[in-house]
Amino acid sequence: MQDAITAEYSGPPKLNYLNNGFTLKSWLLTKDHKRIAIMYLITVSLFFMAGGLYASAIRLELLTPASDLLQTGTYNKVFTQHGILMIFFFLIPSIPAVLGNFILPIMIGAKDLALPRINLLSLYIYWVGGAFTVWALLQGGVDTGWTFYTPYSTTFSNTYVMAVGLGIFINGFSSILTGLNFIVTVHTMRAPGMTWFRLPLFVWAQYATSLVMILGTPVIAITVLLLAIERFARVGIFDPTIGGDPILFQHMFWFYSHPAVYIMILPGMGVISELISNFSRKKIFGYEFIAFSSIAIAVFGFLVWGHHMFVSGQSVYAGLVFSFLTMVVAVPSAIKMFNWTATMYKGSISYDTPMLYGIGFMGLFLIGGLTGLFLGAIGLTVHLTDTYFVVAHFHYVMVGGQVIAYLGGIHYWWPKMTGKMYSEFWGKISAMLVFVGFNLTFFPQFILGYMGMPRRYSYPPEFQVLNIFSTAGASVLGVGLILPLIYLTQSLISGKAAGDNPWMLPGLEWRTSSPPPTENFDVMPVVTWEAYEFGEESGLDLEGARANESVRTV
């Protein structure tokens, strides 16, 4: 396909997606999934920083019981905007739009996503939605909580609910289009020999995520649209004083937002499957079970949304049904957890930075998931709901789960994406800091929650001690998160060249150059090996790599 081009550029400065054009236009009008991924990476990081700054403000305010640093009204806006930015603009696009976009097509041996123009469109929609939201935040922001519960959001809040809602509405379509693109790509763009059961598990996870995106996201779109119209027209379909029903909003909101939490974890699970298996240099244990459990989570995830509404006034019967299904949906996650552990058995495990994140994920997601069971047990949730126990639970799964997996994935594929190697030393330091800081921040919140400290609150004095722990932990966590920013940037400038396959792994993405050429492969690959094949069949030149010490420092 690109033979002519490669022949021409066979000299050292090989043409890759990065040096293939330097103009702004060559970036903004690109259809190359890799460039789009890089643009996502930058935007997503900016949103993470903004969300992180809000988080810092929350933790500083919560250092003392009184609302002294932030006025109540400001505090309400701060946690709302923290939630909105982190969820809709950072966590949901994080792994799919950055790592998925970059790696998925390469992993299956495609030249690009099936619909590159749609991919670019999705990036633009994300930008427009993001810009719109940021504009609304600058105008004055919102104070409804990220859940936008009515009738507060429709009738009582005098902040920019409508504008932020529309920002989320727009942004939703970016997510939908990304999901659509992945599904099509996985169906039609696999290289010869890349059968469904040879797909890396990351691809399966992305596929499951995409299903949720397509089936769920439109519902949040229509929900916030109704919310916005409602605010404008005051007809009151969510306003009980004139016949509406505020709980209908909760149903519609959680119909998306519960499955959305699986949008926020499945890609992370995919990354972890890659990391655990590859850094144990061993075939993953129970491939089919991990693959199908992703799909099972995506499907069953749609049946449990009512567990966010146990005390909302929904019927007792519905509460019991949703509690039951919540328990069922935990099982596929359990299957994954056990399979990952079993994968490490008799492996040949190396502790590079990505693997540290992988192991960190196993511990943190375990705690996060198990506390999800606490919240699913309906009699217990009555006490726990809307307390810091919930806050701790979801930070464990979202930060301890997805963010950690995202960081692991970034470190893992960084040499592929940039062709440069970062400092292993600082990578490990930062992984440790994140792990320690994270636990210090959020573990105390479980206790606070059980003690009854409500969320979105300035608390009574007896809760202060644990809150101080939490704030201290957040500082450590903050440092741990700023470090990668520094050393990853530094690696771009002065990092040593990574080589095409620094970890000597069999995946297709490691069989093209780093950074990959515009159409990913110089020769269309033909897959003859199973996923995670480390034996002879993989055709890797391990001896050669061992001889070449510079490939990697252990």
């Binding site: 099509v184 109704l226 404008f232 379909i237 149903h251 159409e519």
Partner: protein, 294 residues
């Protein structure tokens, strides 16, 4: 299809083949799966609205029946037929594209567009009518001076107002939603089929409360406007799509070998039609039987 690209090692790029694909088969399959995923997405999008409809209709069937009776089933039915015809012409467009018949394609696209536009025209008539009768559920969006309301509502209790009574012109300075007729509530009360939500929702101190009933009817109109409005928006997008198709078809670009865009636009058009197939009975017809038999 596995055969030809393996043998055809030379890289012949068929017209319209994008760089990331190997051959047209792959491209067509991608596009068609993509389109279907888009439609799935659309179904869920409208699905949210249908959920809201379902919930409120099950809560306030009489308000929905009253609101629905007041919609003009003639226009609604006509529009249904118009859309069905346009669906036929759309299907034929695809058929003629497959047969590489440029002229018939162009004609069929033009017909489809004409019917689509007719549909929107009728919708405008209906919307205007609602505006005149003060039935737009947004304050200020109704006719302010001389809105037409029922002649009898000032003299009679709200359940005796005959909604077929002649309309008089009636000032509505703040452009508010107007609804006076609660005869259905009275009837349902007498015959004993009010739901629990209705027994609370329509009454004050044991009496039928015209204002409270009006609020529920307004919810119906709200859903009516949002549902038909979004549907109309989809029609407008569809018309834009048709315009583009028309231009390309005019140039004779579609043939037996390459008609994917026609096929895909057709899927979209039929989808919009299907939404209307449900909207018509749900909005215009359900509850109509209360006016006739028992």
């Amino acid at each position: 299809m596995s055969s030809h690209s393996e043998t055809g090692k030379f890289h012949y790029h068929e017209p319209g083949l994008q760089h990331q694909f190997e051959d047209m088969g792959q491209q067509e399959e991608s596009v068609s799966i993509g389109m279907w995923m888009f439609l799935v997405q659309e179904i869920m999008f409208f699905g949210g609205l249908f959920t809201a409809y379902l919930v409120f209709r099950s809560k306030y069937p009489m308000a929905f029946a009253a609101g629905s009776n007041h919609l003009d089933a003639f226009w609604g039915g006509l529009n249904t037929l118009v859309l069905i015809v346009s669906s036929l012409t759309m299907a034929l467009t695809v058929y003629y594209a497959q047969k590489s018949n440029r002229n018939m394609q162009v004609i069929m696209i033009l017909l489809t567009m004409a019917f689509g536009a007719t549909f929107l025209g009728v919708k405008t008539i209906e919307y205007r009518d609602k505006f005149n009768h003060g039935l737009v559920p947004v304050q200020g969006w109704n006719k302010r001076i001389k809105a037409e309301t029922n002649a009898e509502h000032e003299t009679k209790p709200c359940w005796e107002v005959d909604h077929n009574a002649p309309a008089i012109e009636h000032p509505n300075p703040r452009g508010e939603f107007q609804w006076t007729d609660c005869s259905l509530v009275k009837k349902a009360q007498d015959e004993g089929y009010l739901t629990n939500a209705e027994k609370i929702g329509y009454f004050s101190n044991g009496e039928i409360d015209a204002n409270k009933f009006r609020d529920k009817v307004r919810i119906f109109y709200y859903l009516y406007f949002v549902m038909t409005g979004l549907h109309a928006l989809h029609m407008i997008v569809g018309l834009a799509l048709m315009t583009w198709l028309l231009i390309v078809a005019w140039r004779g670009s579609f043939s037996e070998d390459y008609y994917m865009p026609v096929e895909m636009s057709g899927l979209y058009w039929h989808f919009v039609d299907i939404v209307w197939i449900f909207l018509f009975p749900l909005l215009y017809l359900l509850g109509r039987h209360f006016m006739h038999g028992g």
